[in-house]
Symmetry: C2
Subunit: 121 residues, 2 copies
């Protein structure tokens, strides 16, 4: 049912945890399943120098956020904004249709964290 | 949104993993979210002497299976069969309504693992 990439990022999630003094924080909820995702950003000179995630969501949510954080680390805020949930799912070599909504959590969390940073700065 | 008991069992799941030479194995899927749960039993003289679980499910699924495995360890097969998803949710001091279906996975997984043991013996 799941690609090797998905299982790898589920079993060994990258960038899981929180950044206590984050420059931007995004928290989003998934109405379909009631799950929550938090994204923490450290930003220096418009570049995302560090990013972490927390989720109570399923394996697909863990894998999606793990992959999404890898994709945006080191990117400018504008580049990170363009990383769509489809790009995350493709980088994971696919997600079952019933699990695509879990990858949306990662995209929305990143957007909210970037907006939070922009409002504060 | 979640009780302290749920968060504790999510952050520190009990009995997570697999039993390679299990006496009974139950695998169930959740049609609502596409998640999977596996329960492994070691049975000696009608008593569940060891139990482990694996799931790709969300935090509520992890907490439910963690609590369910604690509730059935050391019990007879008949006693374990009677542990309902409601009993699991109560032991967790409640689950949000949108997450009750996750606790059903644990109950069904246990029933399937017990049936698997009975068929083999
Ligand atoms: S089912 Fe809720 S995040 Fe995947």
């Amino acid at each position: 049912m799941y690609s090797e990439k998905v299982m790898d990022h589920f079993m060994n999630p990258r960038n899981q945890g929180e950044i206590p003094d984050a420059d931007g924080v995004g928290e989003v909820g998934n109405p379909t399943c009631g799950d929550i995702m938090r994204i923490f950003l450290t930003v220096k000179d418009n570049i995302i120098t560090d990013v972490k995630f927390q989720t109570f969501g399923c394996g697909a949510a863990v894998a999606s956020s793990s992959m999404a954080t890898e994709l945006i680390k080191g990117k400018t805020l504008e580049e990170a904004w363009e990383v769509s949930n489809k790009a995350v799912a493709e980088a994971l070599e696919g997600l079952p249709p019933i699990k695509m909504h879990c990858s949306v959590l990662a995209e929305e969390g990143i957007h909210k964290a970037i907006n939070d940073y922009r409002i504060k700065n």
